[in-house]
């Protein structure tokens, strides 16, 4: 059985940052991702990122992924396995992986340290006819459009005015698809206001305190009824409006994809601020199990910018725990922690900071 110093599961920004950082500490590494190519969420992000200029702000997500992939190609101690799903981590320290497009090859590998950076999965919403073809998660819409160049429909209702709802609406408009409206149940826009403003300038309405009530259609989505809601999220009778759309795009939040951590036996906690069950961890991203580290959305839904820094912290410290100290270990570790603090030093991140406090061992 092949053995590695560190195996990183998930090739999004967190996993990529973890793998490259650990590689620079001379660890030998396997990076496993179930996608066709590395990059995770980044390869779908055609918009320019926020964050600090130090951390790639102003650069498009896809270009950040390309930078990483380029860097990895120069690091001979990282092996890469794409189209491969890590399915379980067992008491004897064995990680099982299903390889190949059909997942028809099982392999077993043994890491001395495991970094879980599996990201998140999208939340669903319950409403009448939510199983009709034409009802999509925002992630699926982005993958179809930005990775495969396929448009999901002609006329869309976007549900959710968080950053994902706003950005995917913008990308739909860029692809020449009509966005009829964005509805948001909360009284305020949850995403960045600059994103909302740029969508408004394109003539798309954003209705707050409003949600979708029912989707109509026989074989596929033909129309949708939206309806205003009161403070207790009850529909306000008489405020229904019908829009003719063929696509419903749900951008109603993400949940950490933590199955591997549950299965491995990490101490877990339900933390609403981090959007679901997450593994408890110390400040260096180590879970309750000494050989397992976490980074990115699986540790709490946040941003690519913070995911990368968490990945760097996890990579640096997982390597250090094997005695593989980076020559500038102390300086780097301090600098990464300082960057995280800076990124989270704003109103939008207050709840994340609260959540992380609860999740810290």
């Amino acid at each position: 059985m092949k053995e590695y110093d560190i195996i990183v599961v998930g090739g999004g920004p967190a996993g990529l940052a973890a793998a490259t950082t650990a590689a620079k500490c001379n660890a030998n590494i396997l990076l496993v991702d179930d996608g066709l190519q590395l990059g995770g969420q980044l390869i779908k992000q055609t918009h320019k990122f926020f964050g600090s200029t130090e951390q790639f702000a102003g650069i498009r997500g896809i270009d950040i992924a390309h930078n990483f992939i380029d860097e990895i190609s120069h690091l001979s101690n990282i092996e890469i396995l794409t189209q491969s799903t890590a399915t379980g981590f067992f008491e004897d320290g064995v990680l099982t992986i299903l390889e190949g497009y059909n997942g028809n090859r099982l392999s077993k590998v043994k890491p001395r340290r495991l970094i879980i950076a599996t990201g998140a999965s999208e939340n669903m919403l319950s409403f009448i006819n939510n199983d009709l073809p034409g009802v999509y998660g925002a992630g699926a819409v982005q993958t179809l459009m930005n990775v495969y160049g396929v448009i999901p429909g002609r006329a869309v209702l976007m549900v959710g005015a968080g950053n994902i709802g706003l950005i995917v609406s913008y990308q739909l408009l860029q692809a020449g698809i009509e966005v009829k409206a964005i509805v948001e149940a909360l009284p305020c826009i949850g995403g960045y206001w600059v994103h909302a403003s740029k969508i408004r300038r394109l003539g798309i309405p954003i209705y707050t305190r409003c949600t979708l009530k029912e989707v109509k259609g026989k074989e596929e989505v033909e129309s949708v009824t939206i309806c205003n809601i009161d403070d207790k999220f009850n529909f306000i009778p008489g405020s229904e409006r019908e829009l003719s759309v063929d696509t419903i795009c749900l951008a109603v939040g993400l949940s950490p994809l933590a199955e591997l951590l549950w299965q491995a036996g990490c101490e877990m906690a339900y933390i609403p601020e981090l959007c679901g069950y997450v593994a408890k961890r110390d400040e260096n991203m180590k879970t309750s199990l000494d050989h397992i580290y976490i980074a990115g959305d699986v540790a709490g839904i946040e941003e690519a910018s913070s995911a990368m820094v968490e990945g760097q912290i996890a990579g640096l410290n997982a390597a250090a725990s094997l005695g593989l100290y980076h020559e500038k270990y102390r300086e780097l570790n301090l600098a990464f922690h300082r960057q995280l603090l800076q990124l989270r030093h704003n109103e939008v991140s207050e709840s994340i900071t609260r959540g992380i406090k609860k999740a810290t061992l």
């Binding site: 918009h47 320019k48 990122f49 926020f50 964050g51 600090s52 200029t53 702000a57 102003g58 650069i59 498009r60 408009l173 860029q174 020449g176 009284p187 305020c188 826009i189 960045y192 206001w193 600059v194 994103h195 909302a196 403003s197 740029k198 969508i199 408004r200 300038r201 394109l202 003539g203 798309i204 309405p205 954003i206 707050t208 941003e303 910018s305 800076q342 990124l343 989270r344 030093h345 704003n346 109103e347 939008v348 991140s349």
Partner: protein
């Protein structure tokens, strides 16, 4: 309503980010329509003249030193929020020149007439494209000639696309 509720800034909110009259009367300058403390700083990092003051904290709102701003427009394409515009109120006796960021296809051509849109995407005038600047990061900058009285109204364009019917 306010920018937090529906994405459209109110008059009061805009007042806070509008360059002073005397500056506008003198030279082309930037107008930064960014109202929320978010972790973002490319505008300050990319202004070659230090006119967008360096951020003490990455979540700071951009502050402009209009004395230093040359109206060059370099910051426009760096902003992920597409929140930066340049206004030149002295383009001609009755017209102003506005530089707006644009990321839609097709790009307009120099000299083409396009729809000038307000902050809600409503058409308020036909305006002339004076220049199209493509940038490395793919956000183009479109310079449009607008009637002076619409210089604080128009913030986007729509290019009618005969081929794709939109």
């Amino acid at each position: 309503m306010s920018v937090a509720l529906n994405g459209v800034p109110t008059k009061e909110e805009l007042k806070r980010v509008t360059p002073p009259e005397e500056v506008l009367a003198k030279k082309p300058v930037v107008m930064v329509e960014c109202f929320q403390n978010i972790p973002c700083d490319p505008c300050a990092a990319n202004c070659p003249f230090g006119a967008i003051l360096p951020f003490a904290d990455i979540n700071d709102l951009p502050l402009v030193d209009y004395e230093k701003c040359t109206g060059c427009g370099i910051c426009i394409a760096s902003c992920p929020g597409l929140a930066i515009f340049v206004l030149d109120m002295n383009y001609s006796a009755r017209e102003a020149l506005i530089k707006v960021p644009y990321e839609m296809m097709p790009l307009p051509k120099k000299g083409q007439m396009v729809s000038g849109l307000d902050r809600q995407g409503c058409k308020v005038a036909e305006v002339m494209v004076q220049k199209v600047t493509r940038t490395k990061n793919k956000t183009s900058i479109i310079s449009i000639v607008v009637p002076k009285e619409l210089a604080q109204i128009i913030r986007n364009i729509r290019v009618e696309d005969a081929v794709n019917g939109r």
